[in-house]
């Protein structure tokens, strides 16, 4: 674009030749300059608009926030929901809670996938030791939870160092909506989590670290969650059976939000709801009544006839 030079006052008029042109411009010249500037500004604005139209990944575009969909929980999160391009920690309360932690992480990743504009897949970096200890991921189980197997990629790695390297590269590459990685608590420190959260910002993906045990040391994560198993709410049709996945969730730290704890449950795949796939796969709050005595009572009531039988055998 060519910008025509402003006419200099001395050369234009027949008045006195003056040294400072800006101060001594004649009024009609000033209005001319203003009009020119206005025209240029308008042109720039028009160009910028077209840029935005072309730029699909523009961050200025409003996006659906990554939230739980429960008012009580979302009130604790910052305005925009969970930060999408950041690192989040998940740690089990105690040894046996690992499966619950992984389930909750998966549920969060599914929520994240729902709000991902490009529907990028989820990557889970498994450590070989964890696979032996707690089992490998089961695609059918994941589908039941609500993540289709086309949307999941798995990497199995031996060394913790490889896990960090891969997670960092995966986050940077920007190919995934979220990258989940098993993490051994003793290897995690502030530097590593800082690196990971920077890479998450670079690749615009979410990093989810799943610790293998309770982790108290400081990390650079956006939010920290602590998970324990919770008694599942009984199903109306089959009260003696385990219900939907349920967790006692503690949000111990979140930037710009408030900590809190809730009993949450996740609606998995519903057998007869294939026509309404969106009806399943969402969080809901468990009210206190399911948590303790009641469910236990119903379970025992269900087993009562069996208990009266004389013969028990161990196998």
């Amino acid at each position: 674009m060519r910008i025509h030079p402003l006419p200099v006052s001395g050369a234009a008029g027949g008045g006195l030749p003056v040294a400072g042109p800006a101060l001594h411009r004649r009024p009609e010249e000033q209005t001319h300059a203003k009009a020119l500037v206005a025209r240029l500004r308008e042109r720039i604005a028009r160009m910028e608009q077209s840029h935005q139209r072309l730029d699909r990944k523009s961050s200025t575009r409003p996006s659906t926030p990554w939230r739980f969909g429960i008012a009580a929980v979302d009130a604790h999160l910052p305005e925009q929901g969970l930060a999408r391009h950041a690192l989040h920690d998940m740690a089990p309360q105690s040894y046996g809670d690992t499966a619950a932690t992984m389930g909750f992480t998966m549920a969060l990743a599914i929520q994240r996938l729902k709000v991902d504009q490009k529907q990028r897949p989820v990557l889970w970096c498994r450590s070989a030791i964890e696979c032996l200890e707690h089992g490998k991921l089961c695609g059918h189980g994941l589908e039941w939870l609500g993540l289709s197997r086309e949307k999941l990629l798995v990497l199995s790695l031996k060394k913790q160092v490889s896990l960090f390297w891969t997670m960092e590269e995966a986050l940077k590459s920007g190919c995934f909506s979220s990258v989940i990685s098993d993490a051994a608590s003793q290897h995690i420190d502030l530097t590593i989590t800082r690196r990971l959260s920077l890479s998450a910002g670079e690749g615009r993906s979410s990093g989810l670290l799943v610790f293998n045990r309770n982790h108290e040391e400081a990390t650079a994560s956006f939010s920290r969650w602590k998970l324990a198993t919770a008694q599942s709410p009984p199903q109306s049709l089959e009260p003696g059976a385990p219900g939907h996945p349920a967790w006692a969730v503690t949000l111990s730290r979140i930037r710009g939000g408030r900590p809190g704890n809730w009993n949450l449950t996740w609606q998995p795949h519903q057998q007869f709801s294939t026509r309404y796939p969106h009806a399943s796969h969402h969080f809901s709050l468990v009210s206190g009544i399911f948590g303790g005595a009641l469910s236990q009572g119903t379970a025992e009531a269900a087993f009562a006839p069996a208990a009266e039988r004389p013969a028990f055998r161990t196998g």
Binding site: H51, L54, K57, D97, A99, A100, M102, G103, F104, M106, A107, L123, L132, H134, G135, K136, L137, C138, G139, H140, G141, W144, L145, S148, R149, E150, L153, V154, L155, S162, W165, T166, E169, K172, G174, C175, E202, G203, T229, Q231, S232, G240, A241, P242, P245, A246, W247, W266, Q271, T274, S295, Q296, F303, A306, A307, R309, F312, R313, T314, G315
Partner: protein, 532 residues
């Protein structure tokens, strides 16, 4: 094996007919009049101070092949010839070295520096080059005749050290070569000599029909006419290169051996850009790359790199190659480098983002970087049509394409193997499993002790990994019968239960076998998975 001291007669021996025989001799031994195929006892009698060493044919061949791959610096088309020769196709390459003469001099100089005695010949056909390199040109035939080379078997009088046969005008030069230079077997040679035909020229003078009638052997070594035609170029002979060259390669010969990492990196960058420009011009992408580094001490290092999807992105290729350069042992320096694209595939050129530079990498590129560092790359969990949980899923290489992850086109990227055997899932039929499955599943089910009412009551108490849990909820049984069509014996029907303990932890248990069946072992319990 230490090198023999210079000037002393030395020979390699091998077991032959009636004891040890000389396999190879050095120059001074040759001056003493020792020849190939001679008995060691005779040689010792003539030259008592002769040093000998057992000949190792395998090592010899390995070293010849090593030298052959080193010779690829001159021409991409190299093949070992018998036990002691190399054949190079120098078509279109000699001008890179300043002509055939210069190329020959360069070869001779380098090989002599490494301690090889060479005789190099250029000719229009393989046969002529072979003959000229192995048989002295007529001018020095008299000098040669004094060496007592035994004409037995496949031994020929060896040329003297350091001799270089230049390219002779094919028609003229070969006329005076002995018939042994025809690569024919001993019987044919004997017959020809009996007939008084001693040179190739005298054979050429004969009518072709009579030659064809006389030597109509099955093998090429018996057929004199065919060999003669190969020599003169009337019959084509193919050269089987040890490494068939690719059409996409970039080569840099360096003035000075480079040993520093930075120096090598700079050369590599140049190579990658040269190769990529070639690939891009033909809309091809590399799938398999080989970087060959020629060391100044005669060794060669090779760095292979594989790509998940064809690519001609210099940034990506460099990122894969550079880390491998760190682990390289450059020895005394690298004096030439070649980058070849061994396998290529067409790629659709993709335009970058118009407004912004898309800094991200594709899934295939990410996978390459992982594979470059780790053993296994990205994998996906694929459903298999089986009810048995261990077989219901397999972990397979993720189907990747340049545009990304294309799981919908499973059949295209993953080779189909007999669907009825593997139980590949027909699309849309084996959707999300109707039965709930655990999140985590153990590779091998872990034995557990369970208290349950007989015969098929719900589990009440579970002891697993030495901890006893009281189970408060249970769902089941879900019976899974063994798949008789898999012909695995010893499998029993299983009853699966989803259970939850007092703390809310969920397990997926099964009972292997049924109660009340008297034959065989009592049923056993296993923990097969953990639910969220």
């Amino acid at each position: 094996m230490p090198l023999p001291p210079k000037g002393l007669p030395f020979a390699l021996v091998e077991k032959g007919q009636k004891g040890l025989r000389l396999y190879a001799v050095n120059i001074s031994a040759r001056h003493f009049g020792l020849g190939l195929g001679q008995r060691l006892a005779d040689a010792r009698a003539a030259v008592p101070e002769l040093l000998t060493e057992q000949h190792n044919a395998e090592k010899d061949m390995a070293s010849l092949l090593g030298l052959a791959s080193w010779m690829e610096r001159y021409s991409p088309w190299v093949a070992p010839d018998e036990k002691d020769g190399l054949l190079l196709d120098s078509t279109g390459v000699s001008h890179l070295f300043g002509g055939e003469n210069e190329m020959r001099k360069d070869m001779a100089r380098r090989l002599t520096e490494y301690g090889f005695t060479t005789r190099i010949a250029f000719a229009g056909t393989i046969g002529a080059a072979w003959a000229l390199a192995r048989f002295p040109s007529p001018s020095c035939a008299d000098a040669q005749s004094t060496s007592p080379a035994s004409g037995r078997g496949k031994t020929y009088p060896r040329p003297l050290a350091g001799e270089v046969a230049s390219r002779s005008d094919d028609g003229e030069g070969i006329q005076f070569l002995p018939i042994e230079a025809l690569r024919i077997d001993a019987n044919a040679i004997r017959t020809l000599r009996r007939l008084g035909l001693k040179t190739i020229g005298s054979l050429q003078a004969l009518p072709r029909a009579s030659l064809a009638r006389r030597f109509r052997g099955e093998s090429i070594h018996e057929n004199v006419l065919l060999r003669l035609d190969e020599l003169t170029g009337q019959r084509h002979e193919a050269l089987n290169a040890i490494n068939p060259p690719s059409s996409f390669m970039a080569h840099r010969a360096l003035m000075e051996p480079v040993i520093s990492h930075d120096g090598l990196e700079a050369v590599l960058r140049g190579l990658v850009h040269a190769l990529v420009a070639d690939l891009e011009a033909k809309a091809q992408g590399a799938i398999r790359l080989i970087l060959k580094l020629f060391k100044s001490d005669g060794g060669r290092a090779q760095i292979p790199v594989g790509l998940s999807a064809a690519s001609h992105d210099p940034r990506h290729i460099l990122r894969l190659l550079l880390p491998k350069l760190d682990t390289l042992d450059a020895g005394f320096g690298i004096d030439a480098m070649t980058l070849e694209a061994r396998e290529t595939a067409g790629v659709v050129p993709q335009q970058n983002g118009f407004m912004e530079d898309d800094g991200g990498t594709s899934l295939a590129e990410f996978n390459d970087r992982v594979l470059n560092r780790e053993v296994l790359g990205l994998s996906s969990l694929q459903a298999v049509a089986s009810h048995v949980p261990e077989r219901a899923e397999r972990v397979a290489k993720a189907p990747l394409s340049p545009s990304g992850y294309s799981p919908n086109k499973l059949g295209e990227s993953v080779p189909r193997v007999l669907p009825q055997l593997v139980g590949e899932v027909p699309e849309g039929r084996w959707g999300p499993s109707l039965q709930p499955r655990p999140l985590l599943i153990f590779e091998t089910p872990e034995p557990a002790r369970v208290i349950a009412s007989v015969p098929d009551g719900p589990p009440m108490r579970l002891t697993w990994r030495r901890v006893t849990r009281k189970l408060v909820r249970s769902q089941g049984p879900e019976r899974i019968a063994p798949e008789w069509w898999h012909l695995t014996s010893g499998e029993r029907p299983r009853d699966y239960y989803h259970v939850e303990d007092a703390q809310g932890r969920r397990y997926w248990l099964y009972r292997d076998g049924l109660y009340g069946e008297d034959d065989g072992e009592p049923p056993k319990w296993f923990v097969h998975g953990l639910s969220a």
